[in-house]
């Protein structure tokens, strides 16, 4: 990818510039975070013209490397007030690469009340009116844009949540079937897109070209090795394709780390009803697809298509995080209700993790009883309506907790915790506390070693070893998020070092340079340094690298555990 496209929403102009030398070798998260740190004033208001929304494909995007089409979206987060990289599956990473775009930087802000569509193809870019798309959900938006631009176009869009600039708003990305089922979900970047007056980006790749690897033979040899390693590994080759991410429900529950009823307990009695096993059986019984690739060329195929009771397509197979946040964490054990919510989430364009956590806080705050699935669905419809309550709920768990006078609000840097209780999995607690992203599980997925025995074992119930585990994973993830590869390839990499070697050979052969494991780790460190730098400028200090106090004092059943990694140790995570 050789060019940066700069989109000015005030003048409605698009300009091309060649990749600056200091941005060479960057892709995905390294591209978005380094651009955001260099070009966005860290004290700006996230909804202002000074914030930028950066889209970047990974270093391997558009190549035949498997699972390489992940998209990074970056900016200053309206939810956390810090830097955000939000990562999505779907077809956009490849589409940008095929259009030779290394980064798409959306700047400025449209005139008040104006909403636009940006169309990009091999000939150039043009703005179109989005007046007819105002307030439309992502499904209708994508359908309308496909009718106009062809069903093969990749579409990035915001739903009503993004138009309303809600802090939990997502950017949707179309999957290979053209549905808006993948999302840059965390941190409210959909609100940034909405604040700039951009409803959708249409990427028409008809006359584009796949990138050509500088060293094609070496590249293809490394790809072949990588594919074989992925297929041989139990997770990437068997369990993910069969059960998807929700296979985690039963194992996280078994070790007592499955946050239930707003993080008040570590096990959920209804877990089997919402488990990956039950989900797979139901999908098969109804004639859906239990295994599906969210991007072409992925062999892990952890997604799926979930039908309703009549066998009609309802939504993509809900992910582990979605099922947890809107299931166990809300005391809900109705998988069909959760699937209905998943459809609403995709259409409205709000983060399932943030909003599920928010609904649980709302339940604790007395707006509904735990377990009331109908109420949860009503809350989502309220968000779409944009009522005052809906706007509160769509703005995240921290705000909702404050409005309702709730003490147990599980957030770090204003972002809600995902599906693992840090008291029973202390490594992920270190990641939650210290990641530049806020409470984030993918940024340093310590669950791998804490619970799943992938990449070794670090006892989840002891404070020892967790800081080193989180540090190493945060560095490696910063690099992996730059390649365009799906993070799930890491499960193979953590057990088979040859897989990391293959990734480095792919990157080197693609770019025509030498690229070693040391270069890979150096890239990860560079990403984290840029993000820490931005957050420091935005006013973050070590006081923000902490879990809420109740995690240190409230004992979590069944282990009666508290989070006890010393604060002084948390402050050493970024000593590298």
């Amino acid at each position: 990818m050789n060019k940066i496209l700069r989109v000015n929403m005030e003048s409605l102009t698009v300009s091309e510039e060649p990749l600056k030398p200091e941005y060479a070798g960057l892709g995905g998260r390294s591209m978005t975070s380094i651009i955001v740190n260099a070009e966005v004033p860290p004290l700006c208001h996230p909804l202002s013209a000074e914030n930028k929304l950066v889209f970047a494909p990974g270093l391997l995007a558009g190549t035949v490397a498997p699972s390489s089409s992940r998209l990074s979206v970056g900016g200053k987060s309206p939810l956390t007030g810090g830097i955000k990289e939000s990562n999505s599956g779907g077809t956009a990473g490849k589409a940008l690469a095929v259009l030779d775009i290394a980064a798409l930087v959306v700047e400025g802000k449209a005139k008040r009340g104006k909403l636009h569509v940006l169309k990009i193809d091999a000939q150039g870019a043009q703005f179109l009116s989005a007046d007819r798309l105002k307030h439309k959900g992502n499904y209708d938006t994508v359908a309308a844009l496909h009718r106009k631009h062809g069903k093969n176009a990749t579409i990035l869009s915001i739903g009503p949540a993004g138009e309303m600039k809600l802090s939990a708003a997502t950017v949707a990305v179309t999957d290979p079937e053209g549905r808006p089922t993948r999302h840059a979900g965390r941190g409210g970047l959909g609100a940034v897109m909405g604040s700039k007056g951009l409803k959708a980006i249409v990427l028409d790749t008809a006359a584009g070209h796949r990138p050509k690897a500088a060293g094609a033979r070496a590249f293809h040899k490394a790809v072949k090795r990588f594919v074989t390693l992925l297929e041989e590994h139990g997770v990437t080759g068997q369990t993910l394709p069969t059960y998807g991410t929700n296979a985690l429900a039963n194992v996280i529950n078994a070790v007592g780390a499955y946050p239930t009823n707003n993080f008040s307990s570590g096990q959920f009695r209804g877990v089997e009803k919402i488990s990956g096993e039950t989900q797979r059986a139901r999908i098969i019984a109804r004639g859906g697809m239990p295994s599906h690739a969210c991007q072409r060329g992925c062999t892990m195929k952890c997604s799926g298509l979930y039908p309703d009771k009549k066998g009609r397509y309802l939504t993509k197979k809900p992910e582990y995080e979605t099922v947890w946040a809107n299931g166990a964490n809300c005391g809900i054990s109705d998988l069909d209700a959760i699937a209905q919510m998943d459809r609403l989430y995709d259409d409205i364009g709000v983060d399932t993790i943030e909003t599920g956590a928010t609904i649980a806080v709302a339940m604790e705050g007395g707006l509904a009883k735990f377990g009331d699935a109908k109420a949860a669905i009503r809350f989502l419809k309220e968000i779409r309506k944009g009522s005052p309550l809906g706007r509160i709920l769509g703005s995240g768990a921290k705000l909702t907790g404050q409005v309702l006078g709730v003490e147990r609000v599980p957030v770090v840097k204003g972002q809600a915790m995902p599906a693992y209780d840090p008291r029973a999995a202390k490594g992920i607690g270190v990641t939650y506390a210290t990641s530049t992203m806020g409470a984030d599980h993918t940024a340093g997925y310590a669950i791998a070693a804490n619970v799943l025995k992938v990449g070794g074992f670090v006892d989840p119930l002891k404070p020892e070893g967790q800081v080193e585990l989180s540090r190493n994973l945060q560095i490696a993830t910063g690099a992996l998020d730059s390649t365009g590869l799906c993070l799930f390839t890491a499960f193979c990499v953590l057990d088979r070092p040859e897989a990391l070697q293959a990734i480095c050979e792919m990157i080197g052969a693609e770019r025509g340079v030498e690229f070693t494991v040391n270069d890979f780790l150096a890239l990860g460190k560079r990403v984290l340094k840029a993000e820490r730098d931005f957050n420091a400028g935005a006013g973050f200090t070590s006081a923000d690298d902490r879990l809420p106090a109740f995690f240190q004092s409230e004992k979590l059943a069944p282990h009666q555990a508290t989070f006890d990694v010393p604060e002084a140790e948390l402050d050493t995570v970024f000593n590298f």
């Binding site: 590994h233 139990g234 997770v235 068997q238 369990t239 993910l240 069969t242 059960y243 998807g244 991410t245 929700n246 296979a247 985690l248 039963n250 194992v251 078994a254 070790v255 007592g256 096990q267 089997e272 990956g276 096993e277 952890c302 992910e319 582990y320 995080e321 599980h441 993918t442 997925y445 669950i447 791998a448 619970v451 799943l452 025995k453 992938v454 074992f457 006892d459 989840p460 119930l461 993070l487 799930f488 499960f491 069944p558 282990h559």
Partner: protein, 79 residues
């Protein structure tokens, strides 16, 4: 003594006599280990990844007691 074994994912297809949630009560001699349980249900050591006894990670050498709950998983990961 009686222990409850609880199997997950495709391991449910590899062991007989399980209920709909993948559970089975197994009678073992006093002093039996988790490894004895694994063999008693006909599962080979190479077929599973995680062995969790009463919510805590364990291994085949762990001695079991009457009423213990043993969860056994294949290789699982996700997000």
């Amino acid at each position: 003594m009686n222990v409850e074994v609880h199997l997950f994912a495709y391991l449910r297809k590899e062991v007989t006599g399980l209920d709909r949630k993948g559970r089975r009560i197994v009678t073992l001699a006093d002093g039996a280990t988790a490894g004895d349980l694994v063999r008693a249900i006909g599962l080979s050591s190479g077929r599973y990844k995680l062995l969790v006894v009463n919510n805590v990670h364990s291994n085949e050498s762990a001695p079991l007691r009457d009423g213990d709950h043993v969860a056994i998983f294949p290789a699982i990961a996700g997000g």
